[in-house]
Structures are given as structure tokens and as C-alpha cells.
């Protein structure tokens, strides 16, 4: 098992970090090669056990102990349809003055099609200047991605998007 990403990642600002992949999924490349021969073949590789929506909910309950989630403040920007499931761009922006009195402590990202429900956690301080992060993540199939911002006040805000992963290929 590769190291947990939240242990190794530092916040990035605006610039994409290439090559980040979430928890060691079986390589999609093999599947895509086969798909190449079969033109329209979907993900043909055997699927390993993936997290479910319920597991994501459980994990969030564990972390946030039933605190209520506000809407707004956090913006989670991902494409509706992944162009390359191996490196799907994810951009997170949290609206905060980032002062000692009021700043974003952390942003947690969850994906219900990932082998483990939690994908990454970004930690911020007032010195971060702004609470934004951009990176790329691997999505093996269509799934929901959820980002939760934890403010210095303890207040939580969340945003959720569905990203579709398709083999497409029917031109038009």
C-alpha cells in the first residue's frame, strides 16, 4: 500500500501537481489497450473493491463527528466528463480572509469510487495567503468527489461534484 497522500502533500497554489494518483488502483492502461482493440470497450480490467457512498459517509462521520456542513464558501472545480481518467484536474478554492482570527485549517477530499474513501487532505495556515489547491487525481469510473473545508472556527463547508468517466469514442 502506498503512503497515505495526506501525510506527504503540501498545499499547492494554483499550479497543477502532475502525476499524483490516488491509492494504487490497478493500472487502467492495460484496460485501455484492450479497449483500443475493441474500440468502444469500457473499463474491461477486473475491478478491485472500491469505496461506496456509504463508506464515504462513514469516514466523514468519523472525521467530523456529526457536525453540520454548510454550503457555499468552498468551490470544487472538476470537468463534468474526464478527458483522461488517469489525470483528472481538480481545483479547490475556499473563500476566506486567511487571517489569524479566521482562516481555513484544512480541506479534505473524498471520492466514492476510490479504493479508500479519503483521497487527500490539504493543511493551511494564515501564512498560506489563500486557501486554494490544484492537482490531478485518478478516477477509474464515474463517481462523486466531495471536498470539505474545515475553518479555524470549526465550521465546515462542503461541495460535491460528479465526474463521469467514459471510454466515449463515437465521434459525431
Amino acid at each position: 500500500m502506498p503512503p497515505r497522500l495526506d501525510a506527504t502533500l503540501v498545499p499547492t497554489r494554483g499550479l497543477p501537481t502532475r502525476g499524483l494518483s490516488a491509492h494504487g488502483l490497478p493500472t487502467r492502461r492495460g484496460a485501455l489497450k484492450l479497449a483500443g482493440l475493441a474500440a468502444f470497450a469500457a473499463v474491461l480490467a477486473p475491478r478491485m473493491a472500491l469505496a461506496t457512498e456509504a463508506q464515504v459517509a462513514d469516514e466523514m462521520k468519523k472525521l467530523f463527528a456529526g457536525k453540520t456542513m454548510g454550503a457555499g464558501k468552498i468551490k470544487l472545480d472538476m470537468p463534468e466528463i474526464a478527458e483522461n481518467g488517469l489525470v483528472v484536474p481538480i481545483n479547490i478554492d475556499v473563500d476566506s480572509p486567511m487571517t489569524e482570527a479566521d482562516f481555513v485549517k484544512s480541506v479534505h477530499v473524498f471520492a466514492d469510487g476510490n479504493p479508500l474513501p479519503q483521497v487527500v487532505t490539504y493543511h493551511f495556515t494564515p501564512e498560506s495567503g489563500k486557501a486554494s489547491a490544484s492537482t490531478r487525481m485518478r478516477l477509474a469510473q464515474t463517481q462523486n468527489v466531495i471536498a470539505v473545508a474545515e475553518m479555524s472556527s470549526g465550521q465546515l463547508y462542503s461541495a460535491k461534484v460528479q465526474v463521469k468517466v467514459t471510454i466515449g469514442g463515437c465521434g459525431g
Binding site: R18, L37, F40, I81, E83, K164, G168, G169, C170
Partner: protein, 564 residues
């Protein structure tokens, strides 16, 4: 003025047709003796004129193109234009069966009406219309915009990597274009076109993968009739999914709605009196975008090949749908007062090739372009013994022919053929030339692979493609029509969700259900993967038609559709 004899005899032919359907004769008679001047008639001219051409698919000469008889909308698009066909379409727009409008816009009685009204399109006819309108209005009041998929779709375009159509668009005096199939010539070629062509290649929604920098100019401002007109380009957002991503590995697309809003705001801030989006989103995506992005006056739609005789208004935004294959030129005149659009007039001009005098200069250019390939293009392989067409959500007889050819020539149990919307129509008795085959197959990734797939895998493929067409949210749709399947029948409920639409897969050879775990030999073409091995599909079709001589395809009854 050229007046086709058939137009004059149309009254008689149609009298019988209309008597049978009980409709009045007046309009059919009125359709007689149509002239070029009639086609150019227009109400009051506006401050400036937009001419829109789109999805010509490199069709240089007139052709037949049958509109779809099945074009289902889902979600908010269910049962509304452009998702109406035949009688429903005619009723909605107040048109009558058997008329030239019915011929150009629907599929009913296609063969009979095609023999009456003749072929449509041809870039020399389009040139005549454009020149006439520029002469009438003054070139300083006319903007000519191409909505993409112009540089691909014929043998000469494939052989010249789109240079044939670059020449045509240059000669037409095109002001700007956007792209989709253009990208299948690869990033280097598209960059070359962008840098060398005398018109702008616009796309606000393409970024370099590494740094997210714009690859193309997003917008260009034109002064027309004293008004400042900002034209924002939108490339087909799903190009790297629907077509080979490896050909454009460093470019990312997407709808990028927020960036579109920023472009519109920047255009307004820069003093634009009118904001026009030259889009290749497809109609349903444009309709949604119009409801969410503020300040767009006009969206010139493309990609889904819809042709509509009226604009669709979404709030204050006008949506224009110009059809495909050069069958139509849209004319939209906008009134601008106090730096705002205050009114419009619209005309979808049908390009009846027998009514419009070809422009001699453009005719010469077309002849020169086609000359090096004349021997190939005119080679007759066989004859159509029934109507051969492609367009429709699930089946087309031309595609059935391609599937039959693939199964026979690759000795496969199942054939898969992509749901492209382009490719001409052949009438019963027409020769099947290599030109006609290329018009339906000329792509840069034509290899016909042969492989095995289980029944389960085939179902997954069909479900995946179905969700790209029938997802109720247009932003989650992509690509073309449903993949054509040879050798297998299935049922589809278009109202269901992902993974739930396809059932009753039947192996047609035995009539038995397709087995989930059994491996079948499958052959197909247009794979988006790299290094696919196999002969180009047009070679297989050529061999098949040459052997078959007379191709008769019965209407396909192996796809059962519900939930529409």
C-alpha cells in the same frame, strides 16, 4: 436562372401524394418555379448580417442528405426542437408534407422528393449566395462564420489534411471558424492551419495540459455596419473523448462555462455591441449554456447537424441551427441601437443545387481540388438497390452496409461501426462510387481491428455509449449517435439511468440471447486508441460492394426503443 424541369412537374407528382394524405395542394403548387432570387428574398436588412455555415464535412459538390427519422431528446429536451422529426417537425414549424421544406428538413418520402427537388449543397452554390448577399449589403456589413467540421469528411480533405477546405473557406472570405473533426489531423496540422489561414481559428475552451494556457485565440472583434461584433469560439468540448486524444495529447478541452462568462464580460467591457458565440457544443449543450451564461446575443450552433427554419430563443439569446453538409446557409440580420441588439430577422436558406447558379470561380477551384483524385472518386463499385443513408439515433442503412462488409471481410460474428452523423445519402439505383464510400468513412484512424469480446463487455460498451447520448443532463453528453451494431439486436429504454438502458441482447445468427461470459469475434473501426492494427475500413467496404454489385438493405428492426 436555372430552373429544374422537375420543379415544374412537381405539382403533378405532389398532387397524388397530397391527395393521398388529404392535405391541400396550394403550397405544393406554390413551390413550383423556385428561383435563386426567391431564395435570396429577405425582409428588412439589419445593422449587419451574419452568414453561418457549418458541418459541411468537406462536401464540395451537391449531394443528397436525408435528415433523421429518429432524433430523441431526453430530460428537458424531450419532444422539443430540434428533437422532432417528420410529421411532428412539420406540424411544429407549420410546414406541409411533400413541399421543398419537407424535403430539405425531414425524411418522409425522401426518395420521391429527392428525385423531385434534386441534390443540395455544393460550395460553388454557397459562394453564389454569399457573393449575392455581400453585393446587396456591402461587404462591410456581412460576417461569414463557419461552425466547424468543415475540413473533414471527404477523400480530398483526408488526402490534403483539410487543405482543400482551407482553400474553399479562404475563397469564400470566411471571417472565423471553430473546430472538432479538424483536431483529428493532429495538433501540428491544426496549429499550422491556425497560423497560416486568412481566417481566425477561435476556441476559448482549449488549454495546454501542463500550464492551462490558452492554445487558440478565444475571441475576435469585427466592425460590421458600424457595430462592434465580438465572436467567441467554442470548440467541441468532448473532442479528446469522442476522437483520439493521442492526436492532441497536450490539449485539454471541456465546456468551461465560467471561462465563457468571462469572455462575454470581457467582450462587453471592451465595447462590443453584439456578442456572438460560434459554437460546436451541439444544440442541447448550447441551449443549457444559453440559460446559464449571461449576455450572449447569439449562439450559432453546430455539431448535432440540426436544421431549423426559425431561431430558438432562450431568454435574450438567439440559437441558430444551420444543418449540415452545405444544405443550408443561415442569414441572421441584427439591429443594433444604443450599443444593444434590439431586433432580428432570420432566414434558413436551402441550397437547392438545381436552382442556384454555381459560382464559376468556385466551380473551378472544386474541379482543381478534385482533379488529382478523379479516377478514385468516380470509380463505380456497385449500385444501391435501396435507399442508403446514415443519420438517425440507432440505425442507418449505409451503416448496416458497412457492418455487413466488416463481418464478411473480417470474418467476425459482430461488427461495431461508429455513430457518426456525417456522410451522404444514395437513392435506389444510384451508383456506389468510391467517392460515396469515402464520404462516410474518410477519417485519419480508419483501421478495422478484429478481436474477441464477451457478451458482458459488449453490453458495457453499449451502456457507456448510450449514456453519452441519453444522459438527461446535456453537459454529460458527448459524441454522436448510438454505435451501430451488426450481428446483434438489443432493446434500449432511453428513459433509464446509466447501466440500466440496454437489455435483451440477441445474437441474430441464432436468435438466442447473447451469453454474458461467452467470447465473440468482434470487428470494428474508428477506435480512439493508438496503434490499432487492421486494414482501412473503406478497403473492406469497397471489396464488399464490388462483390455484392447490387446492395439492398432492409430497414433495421433489431433495435427496440422504449422510454422516448
Amino acid at each position: 436562372m436555372i430552373s429544374r424541369r422537375d420543379f415544374l412537374s412537381a405539382g403533378t407528382a405532389l398532387a397524388g401524394l397530397l391527395a393521398a394524405s388529404g392535405t391541400g395542394l396550394a403550397q405544393a403548387v406554390g413551390a413550383q418555379a423556385l428561383s435563386q432570387a426567391d431564395l435570396l428574398k429577405f425582409g428588412n436588412a439589419g445593422t449587419f448580417t451574419i452568414l453561418h455555415i457549418t458541418d459541411i464535412h468537406a462536401q464540395l459538390v451537391p449531394l443528397y442528405f436525408r435528415e433523421p427519422s429518429t432524433n430523441l431528446g431526453v430530460g428537458d429536451a424531450r419532444g422539443v426542437p430540434p428533437h422532432l422529426t417528420d410529421a411532428a417537425f412539420l406540424k411544429y414549424f407549420g410546414l406541409k408534407a411533400g413541399t421543398r421544406d419537407a424535403y430539405s428538413l425531414t425524411s418522409e418520402d425522401f426518395t420521391q422528393l429527392a428525385r423531385t427537388y434534386g441534390r443540395m449543397g455544393g460550395v460553388d452554390r454557397i459562394a453564389t449566395l454569399v457573393k449575392a448577399i455581400r453585393a446587396e449589403r456591402g461587404a462591410d456589413k456581412v460576417l461569414l462564420l463557419d461552425g466547424g467540421d468543415g475540413l473533414q469528411g471527404s477523400w480530398s480533405s483526408l488526402k490534403t489534411q483539410g487543405e482543400d477546405m482551407v482553400k474553399v473557406f479562404s475563397a469564400l472570405g470566411t471571417d472565423a471558424m471553430v473546430g472538432h473533426w479538424e483536431f483529428t489531423y493532429g495538433a501540428d496540422r491544426v496549429t499550422e492551419i491556425k497560423e497560416k489561414a486568412p481566417f481566425a481559428f477561435l476556441a476559448q475552451n482549449v488549454r495546454s495540459a501542463e500550464w492551462q494556457e490558452p492554445v487558440f485565440e478565444a475571441a475576435k472583434t469585427f466592425e460590421k455596419g458600424g457595430a462592434k461584433v465580438a465572436v467567441i469560439g467554442q470548440a467541441f468540448p468532448r473532442t479528446p473523448i469522442s476522437n483520439p486524444r493521442w492526436m492532441i495529447p497536450d490539449w485539454e478541452f471541456g465546456i468551461r462555462e465560467e471561462d465563457m462568462q468571462k469572455q462575454v464580460d470581457a467582450a462587453r467591457a471592451g465595447g462590443a455591441d453584439a456578442v456572438v458565440v460560434l459554437s460546436h457544443n451541439g444544440f442541447d449543450v448550447d441551449r443549457k449554456m444559453a440559460s446559464r451564461v449571461n449576455g450572449i446575443d447569439v449562439i450559432l450552433t453546430a455539431h448535432t447537424h440540426d436544421a431549423m427554419p426559425r431561431v430558438v430563443e432562450v431568454g435574450k439569446t438567439l440559437l441558430v441551427a444551420t444543418g449540415s453538409h452545405g444544405k443550408f446557409v443561415s442569414r441572421l440580420d441584427l439591429d443594433v441601437k444604443d450599443r444593444k441588439v434590439t431586433g432580428y430577422r432570420f432566414q434558413l436558406i436551402p441550397v437547392f443545387s438545381d436552382v442556384i447558379a454555381p459560382d464559376p470561380e468556385m466551380t473551378k477551384l472544386v474541379t482543381d481540388i478534385r482533379a488529382p483524385y478523379a479516377k478514385d472518386l468516380s470509380r463505380e463499385l456497385g449500385r444501391a438497390d435501396s435507399l442508403l443513408y446514415r443519420r438517425g439515433n440507432f440505425n442507418g442503412t449505409f451503416d448496416d452496409m458497412i457492418c455487413d462488409a466488416i463481418m464478411k471481410e473480417r470474418d467476425a460474428e459482430i461488427a461495431l461501426s461508429p455513430g457518426f452523423r456525417w456522410g451522404g445519402t444514395l437513392l435506389p439505383g444510384d451508383p456506389i462510387t468510391f467517392d460515396a464510400v469515402a464520404n462516410a468513412t474518410a477519417i485519419t484512424y480508419p483501421a478495422c481491428y478484429r478481436n474477441t469480446m464477451t457478451g458482458r463487455q459488449l453490453k458495457e460498451v453499449l451502456e457507456d455509449v448510450a449514456d453519452n447520448i441519453f444522459n438527461p443532463d446535456p453537459y454529460f453528453q458527448g459524441g454522436g449517435d448510438m454505435v451501430r451494431v451488426g450481428g446483434v439486436g438489443y432493446a434500449i429504454d432511453v428513459s433509464k439511468g446509466p447501466g440500466q438502458r440496454i437489455s435483451d441482447l440477441t445474437f441474430l445468427k441464432t436468435g438466442k440471447p447473447l451469453e454474458a461470459d461467452k467470447a465473440y469475434t468482434v470487428a470494428g473501426w474508428a477506435s480512439v486508441a493508438q496503434n490499432v492494427e487492421g486494414p482501412p475500413v473503406w478497403e473492406l467496404v469497397e471489396r464488399y460492394v464490388t462483390d455484392t454489385k447490387s446492395v439492398k438493405i432492409a430497414p433495421n428492426a433489431s433495435v427496440k426503443v422504449t422510454g422516448a
